[in-house]
Amino acid sequence: MNWNNVKLIFMREVRDQLRDRRTLFMIFVLPLLMYPLLGMSILQVSQFLREQPTKVLIINLPQLTDLPSLVIDDHFDPQWLSDPRQQRLFELLFPGQEHAPSANPDGQISADLAKHAIQNGDYQAAVVFPADFAKQLTHFRSSLRQHSSKTSTDGQLEAAVPNPVIYCNTANEKSHLAYTRLNTVLRSWAEAVAKQNLKDSQLPEEVAQPFEFKQADVAGAEQRTAAMWSKILPFVLLLWALTGAFYPAVDLCAGEKERGTLETLLCSPAQRSEIVTGKLFTVMVFSVMTSVLNLASMGITGDLVISHLPSSDQAVHLGMPPLVSQLWLLLALIPVSALFSALCIALAAFARSTKEGQYYLMPLVLVTLPLVILPMGPGMELNLGNSLIPLTGLVLLLRSLLEGNYLSALPYVPLVVGVTLLCCLMAVRWAVEQFNKESVLFRESERLDVGLWLRHLLRDRADTPSVSEAFFCAVLILLIRFFMTFAMQVPETFADFGRLVVVSQLVVILTPALLMTVMLTRSPRQTLLLRKPAWWTIPSAALLAIALLPALRLLQLAVEQLYPASPVVQESLHSLEQAPNFWMPLLLVAFVPAVCEELAFRGFILSGFRHLGHKWWAIILSSLIFGVTHMLLQQSIVACVVGAVIGYIAVQTGSIFPAMAFHFAHNGLLLAVMQFQNSPLVQKLTRPLADGAEFIYDWWLVGLGCVVAGILLALFAGLTYRKTEEEALQEAIEHQAAGVGA
């Protein structure tokens, strides 16, 4: 790669974007204007809400002479309010007044009427005292006084005071607010009544509440602020980084295609990878700037607004995030925007026009958002398993750093950075791939006609499937598999287990692959790799499976340590124990998958992906899909590794049979070890782990296995494999690139 060209392209693109009024507006002006405007409107609205009094109907207000009164001059007595100014928040209405519902002929008003009035929205709330409330309360109080003067401990207080009711409509925001406000006022009045009662009974006030639990927060104000920010900031940061990357990316790729300048650039000596890198850095710069400007503007405005909100006296005062947090954010922003920029560029390069490009924002958000929201869930914390999930790990790490837990967070930094960089590299690679494809660069709009398209697929098929056909096959298998899981139950008997295996292998995996082979390819033999390999490759593949078993066992245990399996996973294996003999399970667990899965994954799917032009991309992609079809994360990871090894064998030998041999040997051996776990031979070669349930192979066995596997893989590597046209071309081009560099 010529960095001079990258720099040239980068400088040009940045200048180009800075000259674009739309971009300038979106990135600089909008955040600087939007948040102050938003803040202003929030303040306006809250002002409005604060000013608006709630209408409260009070029915049968008790007139009590010896108690502090609730209402004075048609307003709540200010002593029940936390702030005397709150008086104007209540507009009290009483029956018989103007605008109030008229009283019944007996001078009373029924609670039903109040209910209706609230439902209609005439009042936000109504406080209904029972008709005999005052009488009963007075009675209660007098009996209380008598009771205390008698100084005897026996004897019951006979009087019970009927409960007043606050009517409200919680489905209505205003009414709900009215209830909350009323509740506070009425509660403090009731407390005053209780205090008065105690006084009259010659008891100290402390009787009702002899002690109180006090809260002692060990977190300092700074820590509280940090915790608060650590929840909000990563989310906002990522969201803006994505938005900031998207629009420039669409303009730089799809837009350039639309304006016809892309072909000009493609005719220049700049290589595709240089063009993509230059554009990537440009998009990154805008992504970072958008994120920083938005955060800054939001922070400053938010700080101002919160301090002016009416509830600010109760809420935690947020303040600006600490300086260290801001530093961490800036650091984390770089890999995040790199990843988003690469993704956006790849998508935008695929789009034919800016309009089509805009459509891809939604799918991109749908994919990334769950990964960003996942860490916001309660109980999600930074651990080895979570740190390996792209984006989620980064958000969790960022959160830990913002909270100031450096020591616990630092060990995960290399992991998270590694995963993010890996994703980033893959996205860049994908973007370059898009720029290398003629079909993407010179796409013309075709009329959508499913019939025509299907006919085209059948008529113009090639010897082996295309990349997209392979991908479609994979998606099809995954979908059928997914829906099958609902139809099939966890097998209880061995017969059930057999049925499950046969159905899932034959129907879910083999049938789609075979059907697509027959319909979409001209040479099923070449697609499914039905070639005779060199004789020695078949036993070697089987031996390789045996040699790798101890090491794979270690991997399996490590994975289970990272992502503990639920007990349900183990259950399906119990049915295996009911097998009548060893051979039936061997057929089901080893032979059937070796044939079906190999034909599908190393046959159809791998052959399709070989058209990508790099055998390793084909191997890794097909093994990833092989892993995903195992549905359970714990099995998927190991299956991925196994799939990659088998894929390599299939590519090197050009035949499916060594791959089947490996698969059969691997599954068969796993089964044999499980069945004969207690036999002396297995006991001799393994050692139990501390918990007793699991075992590992002796270390010398692991070592020996790895050495043997290394030798065998070297043998396979020595084979000359048959390259696809694309692979041969890529090799030639890379050769040329090396020549240019020299």
């Binding site: 040239l8 392209i9 304006r259 000009t264 493609l266 005719c267 009329r447 071309l729 030639a732 240019v740």
Partner: protein, 252 residues
């Protein structure tokens, strides 16, 4: 200079099945000569020239430009050529000077050399008035001038013009043809595609008539007219095309 052998390009087309855009084209273009590709719209001229400029890869056949293979050494080929086409637009938010400078730098030209070369080009193509004009404010003619300057700033041995006069008025088109002729004087190997007879007649040293992806005839103007006993290129062109179409209809 350019040696194309059996170049074939086909696309998968939903309706027509495999659509052959270019069917085993072979030709040689030499330095100091203008090689003309004459054909109606959709004949395959652009496909052929895109293969030479390495933005498309042939399905079979080879082509070398100044000794470099277009499929396996695309980056080296692109250093040898200047490409002007109706599809290679100019950036809207760049001035003429910036645009030419940008491509000169992409070709790895040193500052001093680039500057003197650009001054010379801007004088020669009379572009000094539009030096600081943004692409979005330029007329089609101005843009085409910038495109030419952009394509030849690095003084490439091969210059390819793909329908370069489309949309230009007579005056500008004439000036462009004059520039092309000058480039020939400078010893460049030029490939010039067009669907306008007069341009081909006036300019090209050798002419290939291309239709439906294959060459119907190839040679100097005189050879062609003599061989097919036609008075001029237009008659010849019309005769060849209609013959080919009739044969095509019968085959179908």
């Amino acid at each position: 200079m350019i040696h194309a052998r059996q170049l074939t390009k086909f696309y998968a087309d939903l309706r027509r099945g495999r659509f052959v855009a270019l069917d085993q084209i072979s030709f040689d273009a030499l330095p100091g000569k203008i090689y003309g590709l004459l054909g109606p719209n959709g004949a395959g001229k652009t496909t052929a020239l895109r293969i030479l400029s390495t933005t498309l890869r042939p399905n079979s056949g080879t082509a070398t430009v100044n000794g470099f293979d277009v499929t396996t050494q695309p980056a080296l080929v692109r250093r040898q050529i200047g490409f002007v086409s109706a599809n290679t637009a100019m950036y809207d938010r760049m001035t003429a000077w910036e645009m030419v400078e940008y491509f000169g730098r992409l070709h790895g030209m040193q500052n001093q050399l680039l500057r003197s070369r650009m001054e010379e080009l801007f004088d020669r193509l009379q572009m000094n008035e539009i030096r600081d004009l943004l692409g979005s404010k330029m007329s089609t003619g101005m843009k085409q001038k910038v495109s030419i300057a952009r394509a030849i700033v690095h003084d490439p041995p091969v210059v390819i013009f793909d329908e370069a006069t489309v949309g230009l008025d007579v005056l500008v088109a004439r000036a462009l043809l004059k520039t092309v002729a000058e480039l020939r004087e400078h010893g460049k190997c030029i490939v010039f595609s067009t669907h306008i007879m007069r341009e081909a007649e006036k300019l090209c040293d050798r002419i290939a008539i291309i239709h439906r992806g294959s060459f119907l005839a190839e040679g100097t103007l005189k050879e062609l007219c003599d061989r097919h006993e036609q008075p001029d290129l237009e008659e010849l062109f019309f005769q060849l095309i209609s013959q080919h179409d009739e044969a095509h209809a019968i085959n179908k």
